[in-house]
């Protein structure tokens, strides 16, 4: 997964805002990348471009040998179904479906066969197998986010994007979710990128990319939470 010389401009004329000003980034296979930066640094925009949710003004996004910037809307939709997974800050589970139904939802929408063994493995891995018949309203925030993680992994995507996955969780639930993200990379061989404000979250990543004013200002591998905090302080 890679983005090359990505620029994103919103609006035009004097009121135009440059959210990204030439970002080149690579997300290596089986890695855990955290994208950090102050509000307005362009980190969310970057993720949306990489995930195919939005199109860059200039530059290219590649997923394996597929160039996302050349795809039409229906191809992008199909790509999101099969090759990309999402985790949102607010979990975004369907309230009327059970945990298990939520996990298999993207496959159901795509009409693809469900791999029962993989489903079991995910439910066990995220420790929600005994919650499988519960609805989101009967689960804690941490449990809901673990269901969302399982949902993202269900279609065995090539890359998973998580936008502030711990933003709505308390510290204990955050720690569990982050550990599981780490496990997904280490044990299930997934590729994961998260956008976060949380130094503790970033500390779980293999690599941390710092953005400011639409540019990558720093890249590190495996920092501790305290080091992340220091790096951020320098940015503000």
């Amino acid at each position: 997964m890679a983005g090359r010389r990505l620029e994103k401009r919103y609006g035009d004329g004097p009121a135009a805002v440059d959210a990204l000003r030439g970002v080149t980034i690579e997300l290596p296979r089986h890695s855990f990348t955290a994208i950090m930066g102050p509000s307005g640094s362009g980190k969310s925009t970057l993720m949306h471009l990489l995930a195919g949710l939005d199109r860059p003004t200039t530059g290219e996004v590649w997923l394996g040998s597929t160039k996302l910037s050349g795809l039409g809307d229906s191809d992008l939709t199909r790509l999101r179904r099969t090759r990309v997974g999402f985790v949102f800050q607010t979990f975004n589970l369907l309230p009327m479906l059970t945990a298990e139904e939520n996990v298999v939802l993207p496959l159901r929408i795509a009409g693809t066969e469900i791999d029962a063994g993989w489903l079991e493995r995910l439910l066990v891995a995220f420790n929600i197998e005994d919650r499988r018949h519960h609805r989101p309203s009967e689960m804690s925030g941490g449990e809901q986010q673990r269901v969302a993680l399982a949902r993202a992994l269900m279609s065995r995507p090539e890359v998973i994007f998580a936008d502030e996955p711990t933003g709505n969780l308390d510290s204990r639930a955050s720690e569990i979710v982050l550990t599981m993200l780490r496990d997904a990379v280490d044990k299930l061989h997934q590729t994961i990128a998260i956008v976060t404000h949380d130094p503790l979250a970033a500390a779980h990543a293999d690599r941390i990319v710092f953005l400011a004013d639409g540019r990558i200002v720093r890249q590190d591998s495996s920092l501790t939470a305290a080091q992340v905090l220091d790096a951020l302080k320098a940015l503000y």
Binding site: H48, L53, D54, D73, S74, T77, R78, R80, R81, T82, F86, F88, T90, N92, L94, P95, M96, L97, L105, P106, R108, I109, A110, S137, R151
Partner: protein, 848 residues
């Protein structure tokens, strides 16, 4: 706060417009009805006022103005001379007034809504506001003047020969004049003017007149003149001021329009009721969505009352705007209604549109009050939002209370339903009308109850509906069903509009079917003649001369004529007196006896009456009892009840021998003529001979028994079509409600839709999801509507069993309605589905 309210409406223009549309349509229908009837009345008022111009008082017969078969008493010409001799009278002139039919260029009789075509005699000065637009007054029996509107519409010009049916067969008259009343624009109904002598001859009233116009001598007031004239009059006659006479004439127009007016108004109110449900739902949803906004206002120090006021004011402003536009729409609707009636061949007065103060007042009041009333409960809920919720994330589901909230309407609803059913069934009222009233009350209560219960069955019903689509674990139908059932109360109200509309459609269909079947059965049982001569519309009187045509037709062995007039018997008013010929009627008509036999009718003598069962029940009459028959002119006769029969189709009311009928009533025309052929006569040949003979009476036909039965059915059918057209408007409002609810629900679920698109749902799948949800809602409304409609029809037909009205389910129509309901749901979903599919994924995910 008002500024905030207004800004809210402006900011949410689209939603406000959709909500207002429901109010607009209902108010338009109500105002349109008023404008339509007011305009017609104004045109007639002008005509009548001009007709009485120059007169201070008018002498006329007492008359039942509410009856279409009314036959006023004529007065002797000598009365005019005696009035002229009075000191207070400056002048007096008599006028003939009869019913005529003008045959149009296409050879068909000209029909007029609200009034028959009148034939009047020319009234010399100083009376009458007749203005000759062209030509001169008719002077002999071959001449006629016709009204300008008819002349223009039919392209009749001076010197043309126009065919007119009067008391005599069709005759051609040369047009010597084109007239209008006063200086008015084209208004009022069609009319023809003969000279006095000709009119007398045509209507067989030698030495008589129908009206006397009197001008007062200088210095004599109307009151004085009336006091002078009154002693000269027989009890059947009455003298009124010219103004009072105009009002009396207008009453006749109003009562003939009342069916149309009542029907239109009723549907207007149904439309408003459905509109109220739409408004209620819209406000409920928006109040929920704006919880944070209200919390913020409260946190900033707004009182509960202020929050309540803000929402109520929003409803009031919306209602006012919609009603104002509705008022304009009403004027447009009146024009459309008039065009519709004109298109169906009814001549209508075309004076300027009348927008009365009452129309404006009622329109605005209904629109505003209904909107405010529908917004009250949601407004109250807005006041329950705690200030603290401003700090919390929106949309916290209060799951624990959902069950309770669902239960709240069910308890009173069930009680209401049980009460309604009890009223409907336990009402063992002896009269049909009593049971009908009880049934109507019961029915309304049950409909309200059902609206309350629907939320509880939305879930289970949608599960059943979705089952065939969800097999094999298909997710889209499942999601659509879950969405439809997610907020059962909302879906229930959304479906209720459709439910009420469809229930009415089905009820009317079943009821009309029952009526048609019973009428056909009655005709099949009682009419044993081969042909029945009647007017094309089956109810207008026909010239007496038409009976002679029948008697002269080869093959005919028996002819029995029948007359009708409005009357009262014992305690039962507003019934029909039927004059029958006891010597011939048994050849052509078989009485369905409750108490009596063929001998009863054969031996019927003056002083005896046969009473139809429903009238006997209403007047509490039994065989052998003596009672009094009162005519519309006030004449009375004592009669003995000789027999009781049943017939709710042809011989309603009571029957008298024609000899006595003719002494009591002044009816010159016949209601119908029954014809019997001899054995071995060629029916087809006789039928065409009969109709050939009747050609001189345009609008009069001879119908075989089968045609008579079909015709009765067709008449019900055409009324049914009118009902459907009006109900369609209510259904349109119901559909708007579904569109509105769906649009708002989608707005609520923006983030969810964004997620679904993010995880790979295509726009087409999103559209399908919304369409299915709407189809489920619509189908729920349709199914319950069908059930309620059938239930209502069953209750009402049950109350009418003695009139032979049977309950039968029109399965074909049920199936058609079901399909239509589903299609309607899919159609209603088109705009919201398109909007949902267009959602920008990113914006949707970020949506709060």
């Amino acid at each position: 706060m008002l500024g905030l309210t207004l800004r809210n409406i402006v900011m949410r223009r689209e939603r406000a417009a959709l909500t207002a549309l429901a109010v607009f349509l209902g108010v338009s229908m109500i105002c349109g009805t008023f404008v339509f009837t007011d305009t017609i009345r104004a045109a007639f008022r002008e005509q009548f006022t001009n007709a009485a111009r120059g007169a201070v008082v008018v002498v006329s017969s007492r008359q039942d103005v509410s009856s279409a078969i009314s036959a006023p008493a004529p007065m002797p010409t000598s009365l005019i001379r005696r009035i002229r001799a009075l000191p207070g009278a400056a002048a007096a002139q008599g006028q003939m007034q009869g019913v005529a039919t003008i045959v149009g260029r296409n050879g068909k009789p000209i029909k007029s809504l609200g009034s028959q075509t009148f034939a009047i005699s020319y009234l010399p000065p100083p009376f009458s506001g007749l203005t000759f637009v062209a030509g001169r007054r008719p002077r002999n029996s071959g001449e006629v003047a016709i009204d300008e509107a008819t002349a223009v519409r039919e392209h009749y010009r001076l010197g043309d020969l126009v065919p007119i049916v009067t008391g005599q067969p069709e005759r051609k008259f040369r047009i010597t004049g084109v007239v209008r009343y006063g200086n008015a624009s084209l208004g009022g109904g069609p009319f023809v003017v003969f000279d006095l002598g000709t009119a007398r001859g045509l209507y067989g009233k030698e030495g008589e007149v129908d009206l006397i116009y009197v001008a007062a001598a200088r210095g004599t007031t109307a009151g004085t003149l009336i006091r002078e004239i009154r002693p000269l009059l027989s009890p059947q006659l009455v003298v009124r001021t010219a103004g009072a006479q105009v009002n009396t004439d207008l009453q006749r127009i109003s009562s003939q329009l009342s069916l149309v007016t009542g029907g239109l108004l009723a549907f207007g109110f149904i439309a408003v009721l459905i509109g109220a449900l739409v408004i209620f739902n819209t406000f409920s949803i928006t109040v929920t969505q704006r919880a944070q906004e209200f919390a913020l206002l409260r946190a900033l120090g707004a009182t509960r009352l202020q929050v309540l006021g803000a929402v109520v004011a929003e409803a009031a402003v919306l209602g006012l705007l919609a009603s104002l536009v509705g008022l304009a729409g009403g004027v447009g609707a009146a024009v459309v209604i008039r065009a519709l009636f004109s298109a169906t061949g009814h001549s209508l007065p075309s004076a300027g549109i009348v927008l009365a103060g009452r129309t404006v007042l009622v329109g605005l009041a209904v629109g505003v009050l209904v909107t405010v009333a529908a917004g009250l409960l949601p407004a109250w809920r807005a006041t329950r939002v705690a200030p603290l919720e401003a700090l919390r994330a929106a949309g916290i589901p209060r799951r624990a209370r959902a069950g309770w909230r669902l239960l709240t309407p069910i308890v009173p609803a069930s009680l209401l339903g049980i009460g309604g059913a009890a009223v409907a069934f336990a009402a063992g009222g002896s009269t049909t009308s009593g049971r009908l009233t009880a049934s109507a009350i019961g029915a309304v209560m049950m409909v309200l109850a059902i609206v309350g219960i629907v939320p509880a069955i939305v879930g289970p019903l949608s599960r059943i509906l979705g089952w065939p689509f969800e097999r094999g674990g298909r997710i889209l139908p499942r999601l659509a069903r879950e969405n439809a059932a997610r907020n059962p109360a909302r879906t229930a109200i959304s479906a209720s509009g459709l439910m009420i509309g469809l229930a009415l459609v089905l009820f009317v269909t079943v009821y009309a079917n029952g009526l048609r079947t019973s009428t056909r059965q009655i005709i099949a049982r009682t009419v044993i003649g081969d042909f029945t001569i009647e007017s094309q519309d089956g109810s207008s009187p026909i010239p007496a001369a038409s009976a002679r045509v029948a008697a002269q037709t080869p093959g005919v062995i028996a002819v029995s004529a029948m007359k009708t007039a409005p009357a009262r018997i014992g305690g039962a008013g507003g019934v029909t007196a039927v004059g029958i010929d006891p010597t011939t009627i048994s050849d052509v008509y078989r009485f369905d006896w409750i108490n009596g036999s063929a001998a009863t009718v054969a031996n019927l003598t003056p002083g005896e009456a046969l009473v139809e069962r429903a009238t006997a029940r209403a007047a509490d009459l039994h065989v052998g009892e003596r009672t009094t028959v009162t005519t519309e002119t006030g004449a009375r006769a004592a009669v003995t009840v000789a027999g009781i029969y049943s017939d709710q189709a042809l011989l309603r009311g009571f029957a008298l021998p024609l000899t006595q009928f003719n002494m009591l009533f002044h009816q010159q025309q016949l209601a119908a003529v029954f014809v019997k052929l001899g054995p071995g006569a060629d029916r087809v040949a006789a039928g065409s001979a009969l109709n050939d003979g009747l050609r001189q009476f345009p609008g009069i036909v001879a119908r075989s028994q089968l045609q008579l039965r079909n015709e009765a059915g067709n008449r019900v059918h055409s009324i049914l079509l009118l009902f459907y057209a009006l109900l369609a408007i209510s259904m349109l409002i119901a559909l708007l409600g579904i569109v509105n609810t769906l649009t708002l629900s989608i707005y609520e679920r923006t983030r969810e839709l964004g997620m679904l698109r993010a995880v790979g749902m295509t726009p087409e799948q999103v559209r399908g999801l919304i369409r299915s949800e709407s189809a489920i809602t619509a189908t729920i409304g349709t199914i319950i509507g069908i059930a309620v409609g059938l239930g209502l029809a069953w209750i009402v037909t049950r109350a009418l069993t003695e009139q032979g009205i049977v309950f039968s389910v029109p399965w074909l129509q049920v199936a058609v309605l079901l399909v239509l309901g589903m299609i309607a749901g899919v159609l209603a979903a088109l705009p919201p589905a398109a909007r949902a599919a267009r959602l920008d994924v990113l914006a949707a995910i970020a949506h709060e």
